[in-house]
Symmetry: C2
Subunit: 273 residues, 2 copies
């Protein structure tokens, strides 16, 4: 999916919601079973209930890999079920030397058919480049994450005064373009979105941390939205675990509707729709 197509979807659905699929077996409604098939059924019903409200799905690979080959099989079936018009993001946090990253690009873009993959920047340019330069495919690079550990290295100051995450943005923005690169920037540090936008004004930002992790959607929009929106705000647990009972899909839809309505107001307020 190209940048233009994604922007068009945001306007059509009046939503910049990304739904994260992190199906923890311990949290699945008991009637579904807690094996790979249960995970498949759970996510499949979430997809069915929410696909008109979001512009992206982001399955988290760990929760599928935990089941071995059966988990990857379940993920492949879910990927096949994701409708056209939704950006599919493999939340895999990969990154390795060039020849290995090329193999990961094959695994996620070709074998699994995802549009996008999250990547760790630690190993530098040759670990990211194999994911760039293909129309409609996206490298989603970790910049500033929403977890407590972000302060261990990401926000540390480099000689010269900028933080590591700022250097990651500034350097990696020269490897690709806003048409093949996005950045992960956590909502729990919404005030830092301003400094991010100063460095990468045109890139899409994938923003986790709204919902269960406590970030505010209005703050994210105020600091991070650009003229084409330029945001994908991810919510996982607050949507997929909105109810632990048999009505989980209905509850997920209700929570996604609530977020979509709030997003629509923000898009209107910023003159985007």
């Amino acid at each position: 999916m190209t940048r233009q197509q994604l922007s068009d979807q945001i306007k059509a659905k009046r939503s910049f919601l990304c739904i994260g699929l992190d199906p923890d077996p311990a949290k699945l409604p008991a009637h579904l079973g807690r094996d790979a098939e249960g995970v498949y059924r759970f996510c499949s019903q979430i997809l069915e209930a929410t696909h008109h409200l979001c512009v992206a799905y982001k399955p988290n690979l760990a929760f599928f890999e935990a089941f071995g080959p059966a988990g990857i099989e379940a993920l492949a079936r879910l990927r096949a079920q994701m409708p056209h018009g939704v950006l599919t993001i493999a939340d895999a946090k990969r990154g390795d030397i060039g020849n290995t990253s090329a193999m990961y690009a094959r695994a996620f873009y070709d074998t699994m058919g995802f549009d996008a993959i999250t990547l760790s920047p630690y190993m530098g340019k040759d670990s990211i480049s194999p994911f760039l330069g293909m129309e409609g495919k996206w490298a989603v690079i970790l910049a500033l994450t929403s977890n407590p550990g972000a302060d261990d290295f990401e926000t540390q100051k480099l000689a010269g005064g900028e933080a590591l995450y700022e250097r990651v943005l500034r350097t990696s923005a020269t490897w690709g373009t806003p048409d093949d690169t996005m950045y992960v920037v956590g909502a729990t540090r919404a005030e830092m979105l301003g400094s991010v936008r100063a460095i990468v004004p045109h890139h899409f930002l994938l923003v986790p941390g709204v919902g269960a992790q406590g970030g505010s959607l209005a703050d994210v929009a105020r600091h991070g939205m650009n003229a084409q929106c330029g945001l994908l705000v991810n919510a996982s647990r607050s949507i997929i675990y909105a109810s632990a009972g048999p009505d989980f899909a209905h509850a997920a839809r209700a929570e996604a509707e609530r977020m979509q309505a709030e997003m629509e107001q923000l898009l209107v307020g910023h003159g985007i729709v």
Copy 2:
């Protein structure tokens, strides 16, 4: 496998060789086939030919994930075939927020049964902690890698003067112990192994970059060996692709023998065996 058991294996086999399994389908001998089954057959014969010469195997997940569920199935069969007395390292470069890293720990330690997994430190402590504190299990944290991109961020200087990889070592060494943490330090920068040893004198270092990438084993031992050896030197392509013909396993054994013999001399020279 505990640190003591690993040190005992090094002395018994007079080797600190780790063999990397990066089975690129384009490089497999044609008679094996180039699907997941061909990858399995290739690696299986490498295991059979070399297991008495090395103390660790390090399959690279990308080369298995590229085949989807069938690739993970092949990896599981290979893991089951790795003998006791060899450290099994999943070269996966994972790392995510705490609850997700806990799921990756389950995937690699429990479901797949690996002893160790490589991890990217970018996201900080809560991304690494779920892999620590289990006897005989190892977090192998990227510090200074052997690829060109290492200069983009890893060797950049922080305010105060130390390089990012030095900060990663110093900080993450406080999260675990030399009994559950190892570090990846590339052989192509052997002169930097001295600064690494000054920060983490007792930790095992997993050293890629000898062989196809051009690093020297003698330099690695000079700068990186400690009193218990404390090194796992990885070779992948120079061993597994030693021949592209039907004699590939024989050629792999010959190259592993050559490296083991050189390692034995270094272990004797350092008074370890």
